[in-house]
């Protein structure tokens, strides 16, 4: 069954799209990752224009983050002070990102920049995940491994404008979360991701936040940043396809439920290793598309 996507202006199989949403949703539920970093490149592989894939995925992440944050809110695992500062940075960064996106689109380089950004970040997280899971697998075989320190203060924490973050039990400079928020916000606009895969490690390792509040707080920030991206992309580039987003949401919701139920039944480390391989495979495909001699060095774009 084919459906003509009104903004993407391509005809797509409904089951391919909801199936993709379900598959990525399943992985999200299983690992607690956002999934935007897999969804956007897979949509591009399916033949959705890269610009539409990015903006629409931002819209879908609003939905998945809302459903995710509610659970954390009930458990009071959201540091709102930290969330607001990350959010201010995120709004600045994502607004700049959308402007940059529109500029790159007019000069015909947006596909390249999206693909390059994905190669870099998928390569990075794929490698880190593979490394971590192989370490975890080894660790489970050698008992008695030592624990590291919870968190250390460094010079970044001592920058001016120090603020007390009660729920995170931190007293650090507000500039640091502001900057992290801005950087992730920019990535969010250009790559169509929530940015959790950068934000979560940054909050743990750079800010030193306790793990319990990290996911809830990052989801809180991601909702507003992706909503900002959705809004700005709608008014500047008109690339948000709500039909596509709706289909992805349906698949994503169902997949995420199955995934989170399955997570208690399956072994974590091996699966994390498999996810790492999947991420690296997507990265490799994008990398090869950029570096191998193209079938045709000419391409045509028709103004619609």
């Amino acid at each position: 069954m084919y459906i003509y996507l009104p903004i993407a202006e391509v005809s797509m199989n409904v089951f391919a799209i909801t199936g993709l949403g379900g598959m990525v949703g399943f992985l999200s539920g299983l690992f607690g990752v956002g999934g935007g970093f897999l969804m956007t490149p897979l949509l591009i592989f399916l033949g959705i224009p890269a610009a539409v894939a990015v903006s629409t995925e931002a819209n879908q992440i609003v939905a998945s983050s809302v459903s995710g944050v509610l659970a954390h809110w009930r458990k009071r695992n959201v540091d709102f002070t930290m969330g607001f500062i990350l959010l201010i940075g995120g709004l600045i960064g994502s607004s700049f990102g959308v402007w940059l996106f529109a500029f790159l689109k007019t000069i015909g380089q947006i596909e390249l920049v999206i693909r390059l950004a994905y190669v870099v970040f998928l390569g990075l997280i794929g490698f880190l995940m593979a490394w971590e899971s192989s370490k975890a697998i080894l660790k489970s075989r050698t008992p008695g491994a030592s624990r590291g320190k919870l968190h250390q203060h460094n010079w970044l924490h001592g920058l001016p404008f120090k603020i007390r973050f009660r729920r995170s039990k931190l007293y650090i400079s507000a500039l640091l979360p502001l900057f992290i928020g801005a950087f992730v916000g920019m990535l969010s606009a250009i790559m169509g991701v929530g940015g959790g895969f950068i934000l979560v490690p940054a909050m743990i390792y750079v800010l030193g936040m306790p793990t319990a509040v990290v996911v809830g707080t990052s989801l809180f920030q991601i909702i507003f940043v992706t909503a900002n991206v959705t809004f700005l992309q709608s008014i500047t580039t008109q690339t948000v396809d709500i039909v596509l987003a709706g289909l992805l949401m349906i698949g994503g919701v169902i997949g995420a439920q199955i995934g989170s139920n399955a997570s208690s039944l399956l072994r974590g480390e091996q699966l994390r290793g498999l996810l790492a391989l999947l991420v690296l495979a997507v990265c490799f495909k994008l990398f090869m598309d950029l570096t191998l001699t193209p079938e045709d060095i000419f391409s045509i774009e028709i103004k619609r």
């Binding site: 202006e9 509610l70 959705t230």
Partner: protein
């Protein structure tokens, strides 16, 4: 009775003598790009008064738009779009049907003089003074439009091409790909003999966006602020629904 027959016959012969003109019709002249749209196939058929050796041409020209051709270059390990040329008023779709696979030079001459056929289009670059090798760009553009099946030329008779019976009846399939632009598609049927025009007929195919999809498209473009807000509200609602709906499970 005899008189009557003569009257009938005379009307018949008068009609024949004026029947040099083409009569043509489309199996469907209005195509709707709706939610289920995945391209369209229609037929153009009709009669003409031909002789052995005549040429019959059909040209279907889609809405004109701006088109850019990019050329990739290998720069520090990756392929990047480097140079580009933008052409103005390019038909987004051009379908040519030639009744013969080998067209006489006289007929080709006629087509060239009248800018008919995708290879006879006058492509005008947005800033022509910038390019010295514009002809190369035009050739590349022409071949890529053909490769992408936006410009299609079918020569000769047969299945999936034009079918002609007794030099009188013709029937040709027209395939519009899923990527066609909405707008008016000009259809020209041309009958040539030794490079001279015997007759021509013009008609149109109307391609328009209809249904939910077209409403969403115009909503997104005409009221983009509301569209953005709507998209967010929809996502928040969907997310809330999912969280509440699955909590009890």
């Amino acid at each position: 009775m005899k008189k009557l027959i003569i009257v009938f016959l005379s009307i018949f012969f008068v009609n024949i003598s004026f029947a040099k003109s083409i009569v043509a019709d489309l199996s469907n002249d209005s195509i709707n790009i709706n939610t289920g749209f995945n391209g369209a196939e229609l037929f153009l058929f009709g009669t003409y008064d031909g002789q052995e050796g005549d040429d019959l041409f059909i040209f279907i020209e889609g809405p004109k738009t701006e088109a850019t051709i990019y050329k990739k270059d290998y720069i520090s390990g990756i392929w990047i779009n480097k140079e580009s040329v933008t052409f103005k008023n390019v038909p987004s779709f051009y379908y040519s049907i030639f009744s013969k696979s080998k067209v006489s030079s006289e007929s080709l001459n006629y087509l060239a003089l009248n800018n008919l056929g995708s290879s006879n289009l006058k492509l005008i670059s947005k800033n022509p003074q910038k390019y010295r090798n514009l002809d190369d760009w035009i050739n590349s553009f022409d071949s890529r439009m053909k490769k992408n099946e936006m410009w299609i030329t079918k020569k000769g008779t047969g299945k999936n091409k034009i079918e002609i019976k007794d030099n009188k009846l013709f029937r040709a399939p027209v395939i519009l790909p899923a990527t066609v632009l909405p707008g008016n598609y000009d259809v020209k049927i041309l009958h040539l003999r030794n490079g001279e025009k015997i007759s021509e007929e013009n008609t149109q195919i109307f391609v328009k966006k209809t249904g939910m999809g077209s409403k969403i498209y115009s909503f997104a473009h005409d009221y983009s602020t509301f569209y953005g807000i709507f998209a967010i509200v929809l996502a928040v609602f969907a997310g809330y629904l999912a969280a509440v709906g699955f909590r009890k499970v």
